[in-house]
Amino acid sequence: MAKDLDKSLLYKALKLLDARMGQKGIGPYSIVVCGGSGLIAMDLVARTTKDVDVVALMDADELLGDPDPLPDDLLGSAREIAPVLGLMDDWLNNGPSRGEGGLYRAGLPDGFSSRLKKEAFGANLTVYWVSRRDQIHFKLYAAADRGGYHVSDLKELDPSDEEMEQAARWAMSHDVSEGFRQILVSMLNQLGYEKVAERI
C-alpha cells in the first residue's frame, strides 16, 4: 500500500525528483502545486496526502502554462522514484487541471501568479506553491462539487467573509448553473457564512 505524504516525505520526494532529473539531464521544470501537498508545504493544514497536484506549469519568464499533458520525462522521473519512497506511481499528477473542465483551462483566479510562493528543490525542479487565498478558491469549488475532505480543508483554512465571497464568485464563474449557486448558498449557510450566502 502506498505511503501518505507528510511534509517530510513530500520534501524528500521533491528533492529526490530534482536529483533524478539532474542525473538524467531532464528539465529544468517549474510546477505550480495546489491541493493537499500545497496546504501541507505552506503549513496551512496539518494532514497528509497521497499526491502532488500540479495546477499549472511555469516557464522561465514566469508565465503560466497548461499542465495537460505534463512533460513525459518529468512524469517518467516521478514514476521512477515512486517505488523507492513507497509512493503511488502517479503521485505527481495534473488532476486538478486535466482536460477542458480543469482549473487551468477554465481560468485561474485574478492575480493568481503574483501570490505564488517559489521554492527551488535544486537546479532542475522549482515548485510554486499556491497561496492560501487561491487554495480557498479551489477548495470552495471542490467542496461544493464533491464535499468530503475538501470541506474539512476549507474549514481549517478559516477564510474571512471577504475571502469566501471572492472565492464563491470565482467558483460561480466556472459553473454558471443555478443548481450550483444553490449548492454553494446552502454550503455557505452550513459553514456559517450566511452574509456571504445572502450576497451571492
Binding site: 524528500k12 529526490l16 536529483a19 533524478r20 542525473q23 521512477e80 522514484i81 517505488p83 523507492v84 519512497l85 513507497g86
Partner: protein, 337 residues
C-alpha cells in the same frame, strides 16, 4: 555502499567474461578450459554480447573475429539482425563495424548487411577498455575498417587458431544442426523441439528470433518427413520429434540467451553508472529499482524470472544490499551448467 557497488562491478565483469570465454571455447576458440556444459550455445546471441561487454577483453574480442572468420558461413546474419534489433542490444555500432570488417572480402558479402544497422558513434572512441574501465590506446596503427565505423583499435591481426566446433558437445547442438540442415530456421526449430516436450510455431518463433510464418512453414514441411509428431492443442498445432531417431540429441538444454544477455547489458550499465564520485543512496536505490523493472520482462522472456528474487523497493541501504544480491543471483545463472 561504494565498496559494495565497486565489488559488484568487478564480480559482474569477471563472471561475464569467464562465461563468454567458456561459450566461445565450446564453439572452438582455444585458450580456455572447455567445460562440459549442456546448455546450448547460441552463436548470434554470443556475438552480440561480445560486441558490448566483450570490449573489456580485447583478446576475447579478437578470438571472436577469428572464430567467425572460420565459421562465417554458419552464422545466420538475418537472425543476428533480428535479435540485435528486437532486443536493442547495446553493441549495435560495434556489430556494424564487425560486419564491415567481415564484409571486406568476397566471402563475407552477407556480413555487409549488418552495415544497415545503427549509425556509428558521433566521435571515434576506443573499441577496447581494460577491466578497470580505462580505454585502451592504439599502440601502432589504427585498424582503418574499424576506424571508419567509429572505433579505434590496433589493426586486426588474426591468430587463425580457432578450431572447427566439436559436433559431439551437447552445447553445440544448434550449430551442429545448422551445419547439417543449412543456415535456415530448421536448425533452430529442431534444436528447440529436441529440448522441449512439444512446442508450437509461436513459441518457437519467439525463442529463436524467426518470424512466426517462417517457423510455421518450416514445421509444416518438416512434418511431411514423418519425423515429427503433431499434437492438436486447442486451435494450435504442437510438434515433437517422433520415435527414437533423435534420442541421442536430447542431452542438451535450451536457454533463450538473447534476452538474458540484454539484461546483462542493462546490469553492466547500472554498475558502470554507480562508479565515480559520491553516490546518493536514494538515487542509487532508484536506479536499482528501474534496473529491476527493465530486466524483469527480459528475464521473463528467457523463462528465468524465477531466478530474480525481487526485493521490496526502499530508499535504504538494505534495499541496495538486497538488490545487488538479487542481481548476483542472475549472474549465478552464467556459472551453473
Amino acid at each position: 555502499m561504494k565498496k559494495l557497488l565497486k565489488e559488484f562491478k568487478r564480480h559482474l565483469l569477471d563472471t561475464v567474461l569467464d562465461f563468454l570465454w567458456a561459450q566461445w571455447s565450446a564453439l572452438g576458440v582455444p585458450g580456455h578450459a572447455r567445460s562440459e556444459q549442456t546448455r546450448i550455445v547460441d552463436p548470434e546471441a554470443l556475438i552480440l554480447l561480445t560486441c558490448s561487454l566483450g570490449r573489456n577483453d580485447a583478446r576475447l574480442f579478437d578470438e571472436m573475429l577469428d572464430w567467425i572468420s572460420l565459421h562465417e558461413r554458419l552464422v545466420q546474419i538475418q537472425r543476428l539482425k533480428n535479435m540485435a534489433r528486437d532486443e536493442e542490444f547495446a553493441g549495435l555500432p560495434v556489430l556494424r563495424a564487425v560486419g564491415a570488417w567481415m564484409g571486406h572480402n568476397k566471402a563475407g558479402v552477407k556480413w555487409r548487411r549488418l552495415m544497415e544497422l545503427d549509425a556509428a558513434p558521433a566521435e571515434a572512441e576506443a573499441l577496447f577498455c581494460s577491466r578497470d574501465g580505462k580505454p585502451l590506446p592504439v599502440v601502432k596503427k589504427p585498424d582503418p575498417g574499424f576506424e571508419r565505423h567509429g572505433f579505434l583499435r590496433d589493426k586486426v591481426s588474426l591468430r587463425r587458431h580457432a578450431q572447427i566446433f566439436d559436433p559431439e558437445l551437447p552445447s553445440n547442438l544448434l550449430i551442429r544442426l545448422r551445419a547439417f540442415f543449412g543456415v535456415n530456421s530448421r536448425a533452430e526449430v529442431m534444436t528447440y523441439l529436441l529440448t522441449h516436450e512439444r512446442a508450437g510455431a509461436a513459441e518457437i518463433a519467439q525463442a529463436t528470433y524467426y518470424y512466426k510464418r517462417t517457423v510455421y512453414n518450416a514445421l509444416s514441411e518438416m512434418r511431411l518427413s514423418g519425423l515429427l509428431q503433431l499434437w492438436e492443442w486447442g486451435t494450435e498445432n504442437l510438434y515433437s520429434p517422433k520415435g527414437d531417431l533423435w534420442q541421442g540429441f536430447k542431452a542438451s538444454e535450451w536457454i533463450t540467451w538473447a534476452p538474458l544477455f540484454r539484461a546483462l547489458e542493462y546490469i553492466w550499465k547500472f554498475a558502470e553508472s554507480m562508479q565515480g564520485g559520491d553516490i546518493d543512496e536514494q538515487l542509487a536505490a532508484t536506479d536499482l529499482n528501474v534496473l529491476i523493472r527493465d530486466i524483469s520482462p527480459l528475464l521473463q522472456k528467457a523463462n528465468l524470472l524465477g531466478h530474480l528474487q525481487i526485493p521490496t523497493p526502499g530508499a535504504d541501504k538494505g534495499y541496495i544490499d538486497r538488490g545487488i544480491g538479487a542481481l548476483k543471483g542472475i549472474l549465478d545463472l552464467l556459472v551453473e551448467g
